[in-house]
Chain length 327, copies 2
C-alpha cells in the first residue's frame, strides 16, 4: 500500500425501499457529502450496482479523491452480515439471495460490509449516539415498515447463529391475536408498528360511535394520529396507548432476558412522543423483572433521523478489514 | 511459581438449598472425588467458609495433594459473577450481600470464581455437554426451585449489565395471571416450574370432577404427576400439557430475539419426558419466528444430573486467572 494515501474516510450507504442514500463520512461521524437516488429505478441488481458504484466514485472524486476512501458499509433490510448478502427481502426489487458485498467489492476494489438496518442502527448508536460507551444495550427501531431491534452483548452485536437475532417485532404478544405479515398471529408488529397503530385506531373506531377527528376518512398515519392526540381526541389517544402499552410489555420481557444498561428507541414513530412513550414506560416498569426495575435506562436516540442510517452504515464500514489484492 | 507443582485440577463447588457439594475435577471433566454436607447446618457464613475450606483441603490432601489445585469455581443461586458475591438469595441461610469469592480466596490462597447456577450450568454444557462447540445457545434449567436460563452470545456468556440476564422464568406470559413469588403476575415460573405444574393440577382438579389418580391427597410433585401421565390420567396429562405449552411459547419468544443454534433443556423436571416436552416442542415450532422455524435444535442435556452442577462449577474455575500473592 502507498503510504501517501492514508484512507481516512468511508462511505455509508443506506438502501431503503424509497431511496438509496450514500455519504462520505470521516472517522468522527462528520457527513462530508450525501446524495441519493430512487431504489426502485433499478429493478435489475446489475444496473443497481453500476449506478451505485459510479455515483460513489464520482462523489468521492469531486470531494477529496477516491483514494481517501477506506471501505464501504451498507445498511439494507434483510441483509445478513455473516454472508454479506441480501436474503429474500420482502420490500426490495431484488428477489432471492443477492451477494451484495461481494458484487460491490469486485466492482469498486474496496472492502464492503453489509448488514441489516437493525444492526447498523445499533452500531451507529454505539459509535456516535445514545449507546456510546455501553456494552450491553438494546436498540429498537419503530419504523413505518415494522419493528426491528438489535442488541449488543459484551460490547459486540449479537447476530445469532443465522443472523436473524433481535426479531422482537415477531415475538407473540397476544395468543391467537391479529394476523401478522410474517404468517403468525399476535406478533408485536401487529399492534405497535405504524400498521398496528392504524389497526388499533380502525378497531376502536368500529367498536364505538364516540366522536373522533379520525372519522373523516383521512389516512390513519402515526403523524395524523399524533396530531389528533394533541387535540385531545380520545380514540387517537387510546390507539396510541394500546400500541405503547403492548410495546412496553414486550420490551420488559426482552429486557428481563437481556438485562441491558439501556433500551434506545429510534425510528419515525418515536415522533409520537409522550402519547406512545408514556404508556410504554409505565407498562415496562410494571412488567420488567423486579431486580432490574428502575435500573434499565429507557432512552430516545440522539441522532438526527436523516443521518442515522448512513452514519450506522459508515460505522459498519470500519468493521471490515481494508481490501487488498495481495492478501 | 514452583514448576514442580503443575496445577492440573480444580475444585467445583455447588451450593444448593439442601447440600453443598464439592469435587476435585481434572481438565477433561473427570470427577476424581466428590463429597457434600448439608448447607443449612451452617447458618453463619463464617462457619460455612471454615467448614468448606477445611473439607476441600482435607479432600485434596487425601487425593493427590492441595498443591495440584489451580482454582475453585462455585455455583450458587443468586450469585453475581461480576462481583463475586451472593446477592439477596431467597432460599439460602445467608442474607444480604455475601462476598463469597473474596472470603474463600483469602482463606484458601486460591483464585475463586462465583456464578449463579444458570451461568455455571450453561458453561458446563458448553465445556462438557450438549453445547460443546456452539457459540450462540440457550440453556434452560427446569428445577424444583424455578426456571433459570443463561445464553451465550458469540461464544461468551451473556450476563447483562447487572449480572441478571436470562430471567426467562420471570417474563410475563399471562397478562394479570397467577401471582409469582417475585411479586409480579403471570410469570412463566408460575405455570411451568414444579410449583406452577402443581398449581396447574390443583386448578384442574378443582374445576372438574373428572376422576383422577391425583385426587388421593398425595403431594403433587412432578415425579408423581409424570407417573400418573404414564397411567393415562387425563388431569395429569393436561397439567403437563399446559406447563409444556406455555414453556414452548415463552422459549419461542426467547429464541426469536436470540436466534440460538440450540436450546438445551436441563433440570429435574425434564424427567417428565414427552408429557412435558412434546407440547413444548409443538408450541415452540408454531410460535417461533418463521425464518428460524425448524432451525433451532431443541436438545436435552447429556450430562448426568448428579454431576452437572459441580462440572459447571469446575468449568468456571478455569475462567479465573490463577491466584498469586505477587500480582
Amino acid at each position: 500500500m502507498n503510504n501517501t494515501s492514508i484512507k481516512t474516510r468511508v462511505v455509508g450507504v443506506d438502501v431503503s425501499v424509497d431511496n438509496t442514500t450514500y455519504a462520505i463520512v470521516d472517522v468522527r461521524g462528520n457527513i462530508l457529502v450525501k446524495e441519493s437516488f430512487p431504489t426502485f429505478d433499478y429493478p435489475d441488481i446489475s444496473n443497481f450496482i453500476t449506478k451505485l458504484s459510479e455515483n460513489i466514485m464520482m462523489l468521492a472524486e469531486a470531494n477529496g479523491g477516491y483514494d481517501k476512501i477506506r471501505s464501504i458499509g451498507i445498511s439494507v433490510p434483510s441483509a445478513n452480515y455473516l454472508t454479506g448478502s441480501i436474503e429474500n427481502a420482502g420490500n426490495l426489487p431484488w428477489k432471492g439471495i443477492i451477494p451484495l458485498a461481494a458484487m460491490l467489492r469486485d466492482r469498486m476494489g474496496l472492502a464492503v460490509a453489509v448488514a441489516n438496518d437493525a444492526h447498523t442502527t445499533a452500531l451507529g448508536e454505539k459509535v456516535f449516539g445514545s449507546a456510546h460507551g455501553k456494552r450491553d444495550f438494546i436498540v429498537v427501531s419503530l419504523g413505518h415498515g415494522g419493528i426491528g431491534s438489535c442488541f449488543f452483548s459484551n460490547g459486540e452485536p449479537h447476530l445469532g447463529t443465522n443472523g436473524f437475532a433481535g426479531e422482537i417485532g415477531h415475538t407473540c404478544v397476544v395468543e391467537n391475536g391479529r394476523q401478522c405479515t410474517c404468517g403468525s398471529r399476535g406478533c408485536l408488529e401487529a399492534y405497535s408498528s405504524a400498521r398496528g397503530l392504524k389497526q388499533n385506531a380502525e378497531e376502536l373506531l368500529a367498536a364505538t360511535d364516540v366522536p373522533s377527528l379520525l372519522r373523516d376518512g383521512g389516512e390513519l398515519t402515526p403523524e395524523r394520529i399524533t396530531e389528533c392526540c394533541e387535540q385531545g381526541d380520545a380514540i387517537a389517544i387510546e390507539a396510541m396507548r394500546l400500541a405503547g402499552s403492548i410495546l412496553g410489555h414486550s420490551l420488559a420481557n426482552y429486557a428481563t432476558v437481556i438485562n441491558p444498561e439501556a433500551v434506545i428507541m429510534t425510528g419515525s414513530m418515536i415522533k409520537a412522543g409522550k402519547w406512545l412513550l408514556d404508556p410504554m414506560v409505565k407498562t415496562f416498569e410494571e412488567s420488567v423483572f423486579q431486580n432490574i426495575r428502575d435500573r434499565v435506562k429507557l432512552l430516545v436516540s440522539i441522532l438526527d433521523n436523516n443521518d442515522r442510517d448512513v452514519l450506522g452504515a459508515s460505522a459498519l464500514a470500519w468493521d471490515v478489514p481494508e481490501y487488498s489484492l495481495f492478501k
